[in-house]
Each structure stands twice: as C-alpha cells, then as structure tokens.
Symmetry: C2
C-alpha cells in the first residue's frame, strides 16, 4: 500500500466515523425514545473519542505528511493532506482533559439551559454558563496562538473553527457597515403602514404542509432518493455522505411560514451536500475534523449562504410566488382563498422588530446576530461577566429594536448555542446572508437568462451553476478562495445591501435610500 493509499484509507475511516456520529445525532433528534438519551450520549462520546484517537494517531499524521510531500499527488490530495495536518496541529493544542470537560459540561449546561428557559430563571443557568465561558476561554487560548498571532482577538480562534480565515478585524467593519444600512432602512419601513399578516396564523393542516413542502424541496432539485424529510423540534439538515442527506422541519398547525420557508432553508443546505463531487466522499474534504462532524460545505457561513439563497432570494421572491401561489392557495383554501398574491407576498416579507431571532425577518435578523456576537466577544475577552449578561442583552434590544424584553426566556435564554459551547458560530448566519447575494449576482452574470428561468420555475440552471462553482468542491477551498474563484472578490456586503434596499423599497414603497451607495470597497 502506498502512503497515499494509507492516507486515503485512514481518511475514509475517519469520515465514516463522522458520518456515523451524524446518523446517531439525526436519530436522537427525530426518532429516539426519551429513555435512550443517556446511552446515546455514551455512544456519541465513545465515537468522538475514537475519531479523536484516529485523528491524533501519529500514523495518520505521517501518512498526511508523506502525501503532502509527494509531488505525484494531485491538488486535491495535497489540499486534503494539508487540511489534515492543520486539524491535527490544532487538535493537539487542546488538552484531552479540556475536550472531555467541555463534552461533559455541554450536556449538563444544555439541561440547565432548558430548565432555566422553561422556568424563566437565568440564575439557574448562570453557574453552568459561567463554567462554559471559562472552559471556552481556555479552549480559545489553547487554539489561539496558532490561529491569529499576537495582534488577534481571543474570539478569532473560536470563529475560525466555524469560518476558516475569518477574524474579528474583518468582521467588525462588516457589521458596522450592515448596521449603518439596516437601522435607517428599518426606521423607514416602520414609518410605513404595516402589511396584514393575520392569515398566516390560521389553521393549516400539517399533512398538507408536509406534502407542499416536500414538493417545493423537490422542485429545487432535492433528491429524495438520497434524502428524506422528517419533523423535529428544531429544523436541521445533516448528511451521511452525499448519498444520504436528510432534512427536517416543523409543521405548526397555526403558523404556515415556519414549515414553508424552513423547508426551503434546509433544502438549500441539502442541495449543497447532495451536490458535492462523489470523489470527495469519505475524504478529509467532506470532514470537519476539528468539529468531528461530516459535512461537505466549505464553512458554516458558506453553507448558510445556500440555505438563505434558496429560502430568501428565491423562495420569498415575487417571481416564485407568482408561479406557485395558486398551488398554495388550492392546497389551503380555508387559509388563503381570500388572500391575494400581493397580500401574501407582503406578509411573508413583513419587517417587524421582534424579540425572537428565529422568528425575525431578513432585515432585523442581522441585528439579532450582531447583538449576540458583540456580547459573546466580550464574554470571551473577559470584558463582560455572565451575571451582567441579561442587562446587557436587554439594553441592546431596546437600542436596536426599540423593544422591552419582558422576561429572559424571550431574551438572553432563547438560544441553545451558548449552552452548547458554540461561541463563534453566530457570525456565520450574517456572513451567509452577505455571501448569498455575492453568489447570486455571480450566477446572474454567468446565466443571462437567470431571471427569466426563475420566472418560469426553472431552477435547474441556477442549481447546476451553484453545484459546478460551489457545491462540487466540498471543503476543498476556504470560503475566501471560493468567493474569489466565483465572484472575483472577497467578502463584500454591497450586493446584499443593494438587494435588501431594492427589495424593501419595492415592498414598502420607499424612496431608494442613499446610504447603500456610500461604501463600495470590500470590507
């Protein structure tokens, strides 16, 4: 066996383990009886420990090194080898005891969070969160020197595990620019009469929601021969190689948009995973080796760009509903027969400041994200104490959205992320929004007929362009490389700002806001 084969064999075994971890995770969230949670946690811990052991096996490192030094290897092999070596180096910096402590704390903290949210009692969560922040700061310190050098922010190392190459130095100016755009636009929208949306909370039979949602997913090109749609409390997408990519959604009897757009969102993620080059299956290039998670997307942000593109850019567009609203209406005659296309379109694109991130519209969503990122950066930098978190949260909600937080359950306790130790993941939602518009514009340049195709419901050309330019590459390129290859430049919020301004100006009859043209340079 040549060294390269040895590297491939070990990479395949590692990827298999990560895929199995994903299967267990999917099962736990969609099928498992309640009694199984304890033993499932042990099974997951055993698999994670095994994957970590295999990753840190000196023979794996050696096989990667030899592959990297072998000029006969193709570019993909070289990239796989170098990513493997980076992951090994990073994983080595994290003491095994810290990994174990974090894993143990994670389930404890999630339980504490769930109970605290249920009882609206932040104090009950505070000790676990304090410990989580402490351990995460240790993690950041362990990873940190490697990630960003001396001039970096302690948050960089965490951010990098979700969005390779992204730093606070890049992120903060981006956020400033978004805020400078979003807040005035929000004020302008709030000055207009609010569209009606009462009909969205009528009774919508869940079975019909599922039928319509699945058909919509398939229309975009989701291959149910390599996937399936289930129900779960929190919608998600997960893959066990490109041949088995599953999505979930939630069918709420009295809230139609949840399943409708949730499914399109997860479909975007799924199209990414199903579109990865088969050659990359069972390799490092479909493995998040640090996160011990099998995934084909380049980063969390890149992945989110595709869920947002298909959900928002396509799924909330006038062209989409002009074509598909009659079918939706005939599926739900009791809910929608008295609602015009125009009313429906304005309702599903309605902008309203709200307390809950996952219910937020496209515009205020970014404000929710920035709030979280600012607070978690200060926690990780040691500039904010956990006990002061609720007050800081509530102050920002007041400032940005003009709302009073009535209780912590609808405030600082609403998200699971911090209890899971996912510090550094929030920025990727907004990065995804920004990337989505860049990718969409690049597709538009490459396919002059794009708008006309979408108006006819022809989604294949767009999907195929995205597949050829993004999906097929798996994790071969960094997000920045992918952007440059595809759009000719790095992360640039201008297309996103133009999209939002144009969209809401049309929907709310605003004059074109000036501030979107202020900045043209990349951030």
């Amino acid at each position: 066996m040549t060294t390269s084969n040895e590297f491939q064999r070990r990479s395949a075994e590692l990827n298999d383990l990560l895929c199995v971890i994903n299967v267990l995770t999917w099962d736990a969230r969609t099928q498992m009886p309640g009694g199984g949670s304890g033993s499932r946690a042990q099974q997951l811990a055993t698999l994670s420990a095994l994957a970590r052991e295999r990753l840190l096996d000196p023979a794996f490192e050696e096989s990667a090194r030899q592959t990297g030094q072998d000029d006969g290897q193709d570019d993909l092999q070289q990239r796989a080898a170098s990513q493997a070596l980076e992951a090994v180096t990073a994983m080595r910096r994290v003491p095994e005891a810290l990994t174990r402590e974090l894993a143990l704390l994670k389930s404890e903290a999630q339980d504490a969070w769930a109970a605290a949210k249920q009882n609206n009692d932040f104090a009950a969560f505070e000790p676990a969160l304090t410990r989580m922040v402490d351990l995460t700061r240790q993690l950041s310190a362990a990873l940190g020197d490697a990630a960003s050098g001396e001039e970096g922010h302690p948050y960089d190392a965490l951010l990098n595990t979700y969005e390779p190459g992204m730093t606070v130095k890049t992120l903060l100016p981006l956020f400033e620019r978004l805020r400078a755009h979003h807040v005035p636009l929000l004020r302008a929208i709030q000055a207009q009469p609010a569209p009606r949306s009462d009909f969205l909370t009528r009774f919508y039979p869940p079975d019909a929601q599922k039928t319509f949602s699945l058909a919509a997913a398939e229309r975009f090109g989701y291959d149910t021969g390599r996937g399936r749609l289930d129900q779960s409390a929190h919608p998600f997408e997960i893959s066990f190689t490109r041949e088995d990519v599953r999505i979930t959604t939630r069918f709420q009897e009295h809230f139609l948009p949840g399943a409708l757009f949730g499914t399109l969102h997860e479909t975007g993620h799924a199209l990414y995973e199903q579109g990865v080059d088969p050659e990359l299956s069972r390799t490092v290039l479909t493995s998040d080796l640090l996160g011990l998670y099998a995934v084909g997307g380049a980063s969390y942000g890149t992945h989110e760009s595709q869920s947002r593109l298909w959900e928002n850019r396509i799924g909330r567009s006038a062209a989409y509903w002009k074509l598909h609203y009659p079918e939706l209406q005939s599926t739900f005659p009791e809910g929608l027969s008295d609602v015009s296309l125009e009313e429906f379109l304005r309702a599903v694109n309605k902008v309203t400041p709200s307390l809950i991130r996952v219910e937020a519209d496209e515009l205020t969503y970014d404000l929710h994200i920035m709030l979280r990122v600012e607070l978690e950066m200060r926690l990780i930098a040691g500039e904010l104490e956990v006990k002061d978190l609720p007050a800081a949260w509530n102050a920002r909600i007041r400032e940005d959205l003009g709302l009073e937080v009535p209780d912590d359950a609808r405030g600082v306790l609403q998200d699971i992320h911090w209890s899971s130790g996912m510090f550094g993941s929030f920025p990727t939602y907004t990065i995804g929004n920004v990337m989505a518009s860049q990718f969409y514009n690049a597709a538009g340049k490459a396919i002059p007929e794009l708008e006309a195709q979408l108006e006819r419901g022809e989604y294949a050309p767009l999907r195929e362009w995205l597949t050829a330019n993004i999906y097929t590459h798996g994790r071969t390129y960094t997000p920045h490389e992918l952007l440059v290859r595809t759009t000719g430049e790095g992360l640039n919020p201008q297309p996103y700002l133009d999209y939002l301004t144009g969209k809401y100006s049309g929907l709310y009859g605003l004059e074109h806001a000036e501030q979107t043209q202020e900045h043209k340079e990349n951030v």
Copy 2:
C-alpha cells in the same frame, strides 16, 4: 485505574460500538433512502473492523485475564471476563482475510439471492451460494476444533455461534422426537374439516392495525418510553441498550394476522431486552462479541422462546381473545362484525401445510425448520452440493407436507439466511419453541394464580417472573444453565409436545394422541 476498571472501560467501549452498529442497521431497514445503501455498507464495515480490532487488542485480553484471576471480583465480572476470553480465542482462530471475504460476499450474495428470488432463477444464485458454502465451511473448520473436539460435526461450530453449547448430537434426537409427534398430529388434523379463515384477508385499515398492535404491545408491558414501533419489510426487534429497544412490523391491508401476531412476537423479544438488569448495560454480558451485535438475550433460541411464548402461548390463546376480541371487533367492524370469537380463534390457530415458512402455523413451522437444518448440515458436511439443493428441498416438502413446490421462489429461494451466511441459525427457532413451553410451565408452577391472571388480562406477574428468572440475567448464563436454574432440567420437548397436542385436540376435536406420552426422558 484498576485492571477491572480497565476491563469494564474496554467492555463498555466495545458494547457502545455494537449498539451503534445496531442503530445503523435499524436505520438502514426502516428510514434510510435507497441511495444511502452503499455508504452505509462502508460505515458498517468500518465499525465492524473497529470492534474486531478492539476485541483482539492484546490489552483487552490482558484486562479480561487479570479480571478473571482476581478473586476480589464478583461472579458477574468473572463470567464477563471468561466470555470475553472465549470470544477472543474464537475470533483469533478466524483469519481476518476470511472475515473480510465473508463480509464482502454477504452483500454480493444477498443481491444475487434477491434477484434470483425475483426472477425465480436458482441458477443465478448458485455461484454465490456455492462460494458462501465454501467460505462457511472454512469458517467452521477455523472455529471447529475449539468448539466440539474430534467427535463433533462440522455444523457444531456454526450452531454454537447462535446457540452456545448446542451440538448436532443433541439436536438430531430432539428433531426426531418432534417429527414423530408432529407428523401424526398433522395427519389427524388434516382428517378434520378445515376451519374458515377467509375473513382474515378482508380489508383492515393499516392505521387501525398500528393503533391496535401498539396497544397490545403496551398491554404486555412494552415500554414505549424506551422503544418505538415502526414499519419494515421484514419485522424485527433490535436494541441499543435496554433503554432503547425498537420493534418493527408490517401492516398489510389484506392480512390481519401479520401485524397482529408479528407485533406480539417482536414484543416478546423486546420485553427480554427491556428487562435486562441495568447493571449489565455496556458490558460483555449484553454483547454478542462473535456476532458483533449488541443483544441482551442468552442465545438466539432463548430469545425466540420469549417471542414465541408471548406470541403463541399468550397471544393465540382462548383466554387472550376472550378478553380482547370485542376490542378487535370494534376496531375492525367491517372485517369482523360477522365473525364469532370461536371462529376467529380457530382461524388464527388453523393448521395447513404451506410452502412458506414465515406463513406457517405453529405445528408445521417446525417441519419447515427441520428441512432447512437437515439440508444445511449436509451442505456444511460436504454431503450435498449446492446444485442439488432445489431437488432435495422439493423432495422434502413433498414428503413432509404433501405439497409440490411450483417454483424455487416459493421453495429453496424463500429465505434470506443462506445468502447472509447464517448457517446454524435455523435450529434456534425450534429450540425456542421447546424452551417456551418449559419456561411457561415453570412460571405456572411458581405462580399458582397464573391462568386466572391471564384470563383477567394481568400480564405483569408473568412478565415479572420471566424478568426475574430470565431477562434480568442478560447473557450471564448459557441457555442450558438458564433452563436448569429456571426449570430444574435441560432442554426437554415434552412440555411443548403436550402443549401442542392439548391445544390442537381442543381446537380440532381430536382424541388425545397417544404418541406424546411415549418419551419422557430429556433429549
């Protein structure tokens, strides 16, 4: 860490891996989209190889040896250690290349078998089956010397992997005795008018079947907080520790008994797994280390004794239906309103020679098993060639059941077992039948009120007795030890023969057959 802790830690890791293999198997059979089968096979192969590696790790053997030699360890630890050492010894005897060849051939042979069955073309399966017999003979030879010494049959080593301690020398006289009982009883039954059973193939709405079946499972004590009922092509039960024990059945629109009794059968298996002592979770004593399968039952036969006991002894009894038939009738008014309790009871206990094992009644079922065991013993001994198998099969069906096999799909191709390399597993179905009556009689002795309780639908006392005497012990004891502890003797067919004679004499109005009293000694 003491050595015992080291043994426990390694055993827990191994059991976790086996539980995960079971999760992947369950998912593949109930949830997985078709496209996922290739990558799932690779994931399973990787996990099996890992489990094998951990089992054969010299450090595991050493930890087991030290535990076995440590007088401070309790009896359970000693037994776990000795079972681990036995498994290591046996697994070591099988060359890794043979294990790999068998695993590869298994999926190839299953595909060939499925296609051959579909097209009724035994010749298309013959090459794969010939190779499977050849590799299985090699497996038997590798395991064999250890298993049964010089005077043994080559089939013994295979039989032992499913039914520890069972040999051809014990099995054949048992079979002779069953045959001597069953065939005359069958002839006597055939001389009587056949009960009507046409109503069983009326339309029975699948949703109502599921509701009734699940309620019936819960009535026996199946804990759905630690389990769930799904649909699959071939019903089965599988566990991922006692805390997550899942069953499946098949809801056929035009065949009520399939789901009805299939669910009770799998419930019997599930009660066994859910009843294992929590202390045995994640140990060798809930691990089939040779089969690389997590299971709490002592053997295939012991497990089958519980599925048969709950399905047949309880679920097909007059007492059961006297109590529950009104509910069944009101669940399916269109199918059963014109059918009396008596008619229903006779229909679901109707004896008819048939071509298909899985559709056979309690009496002819054993004849199907004996036919298969005789043929597979001759294959493994090299006394029968694969090309002569269909003729041998058809001859035995003619002789035992008086039927002509119209095609191989309804003959030699009907079962998946041989294509899966499961030579040696068929006897355990009949062994289970025999054991079921022994256990049931022992329960009756211990619980004088048993019959009265069952007539009142009180299943808890029986389940609790079975739990305390059988289920709780997991794989601690061999089947023989369990029988002796529980019934005071080894395998003895007399209670089973008495049960069948009594049952069918009543249902068919026969005079009590004499031959059941001919033999009293154990076999």
